[in-house]
């Protein structure tokens, strides 16, 4: 083993942890979320905790924002699918209350594709 060999092995030994850390951790946290109420869209920041009350087609949905996450806390609909969606925090996550015509989506730094099909 020459000195150059050790340098290359060291380089590999440093590169691997870097790759694992950079690729496998820190899923881009959502910074903003959009709330769509019928056809109108509002953008909210997830930076500070608060509760929103939004009047939809059926009644008032309560949307909570906490620790950079957002969720439906209450909704006048029957299925409560929106509430069961739970906390949304990663860019691209989405929950909707169809009966009340309200949906929320977390936005990343740049909009991403839902999927690509060849």
């Amino acid at each position: 083993m020459t000195r150059a060999d050790y340098c290359i092995v060291l380089f590999a030994a440093l590169l691997l942890p870097y790759l694992y850390i950079s690729q496998w951790t820190g899923d881009e946290a959502g910074i903003n979320a959009t709330i769509m109420n019928g056809s109108e869209t509002t953008e909210v920041s997830l930076a500070h905790d608060h509760t929103l009350e939004i009047d939809g087609a059926l009644g008032t949905s309560i949307i909570k924002i906490k620790d950079g996450k957002i969720r439906f806390a209450a909704s006048p609909c029957r299925g409560k699918q929106c509430i069961h969606s739970g906390w949304l925090e990663h860019a691209g996550e989405f929950a909707a209350c169809l009966p009340n015509r309200i949906s929320i989506a977390v936005l990343g730094e740049e909009p991403r594709f839902d999927s690509i099909i060849f």
Binding site: M1, T2, A4, V9, A12, L15, L16, Q23
Partner: protein, 195 residues
């Protein structure tokens, strides 16, 4: 027969191609690499893109013994002929193995330009394996799967490249030691015979 001029046989066969000693050497080594390449293509793989890359052992050994130019010949012939024989010529598999081979040859060229002693078999194999993986990964990303999710695979693929790179480095090292020993033995024998 012995008195016949050589051009009689030349007339019979038409054109004769003059082959140099280097051509023969390249052909032999390429044949060896192609055989390994084909045997390896039959091995099952846990992840697409993960292969031991034993054919690269030949590339590195040739690079150390005969220089970069011969290594390029042997590697390119291996990728080309190997893919034609397996039936993957110009398919994605071929593109990946071709781009990986080009990337590792570029890195080997850079390594041959290093001042001083330069890396030995293990360093060369490791850096070539990593270059090979990077080359084929970016080709896959650019041509076949342009989705950021592919990068989640990169740490795993690179780990495989590092592990197999070191293993093939050890193989090359023991191969070179073996060759050296045999060379010494034969020269010793020749010396004895001359006495």
């Amino acid at each position: 027969m012995s008195g016949q001029p050589n051009n009689a046989s030349e007339r019979k066969t038409g054109i004769t191609i003059k082959t140099t000693q280097e051509d023969h050497l390249i052909a032999w080594l390429a044949a060896l690499a192609i055989a390994i390449h084909i045997i390896e293509s039959v091995l099952p793989s846990p992840l697409p893109g993960v292969k031991p890359g034993l054919a690269n052992v030949i590339t590195i050994a040739v690079f150390i013994l005969y220089g970069w130019r011969t290594a390029v010949w042997v590697t390119m012939l291996r990728v080309l002929v190997g893919s034609i024989l397996i039936g993957t010529f110009l398919s994605p598999t071929f593109m990946l193995s071709f781009s990986g081979a080009v990337a590792s040859l570029i890195v080997l060229w850079l390594a041959s330009r290093l001042p001083g002693e330069g890396p030995g078999p293990i360093g060369l194999c490791l850096i070539a394996a990593m270059a090979h993986m990077s080359g084929q990964f970016y080709t896959a990303y650019l041509l076949f799967i342009p989705h950021d999710g592919l990068f989640k695979l990169l740490p795993l693929l690179m780990t495989a490249a590092v592990v197999f790179g070191i293993i093939s480095g050890i193989i090359v090292r023991s191969m070179l030691q073996h060759l050296e020993k045999r060379k010494n033995d034969t020269t010793a024998q020749q010396n004895e015979q001359e006495k």
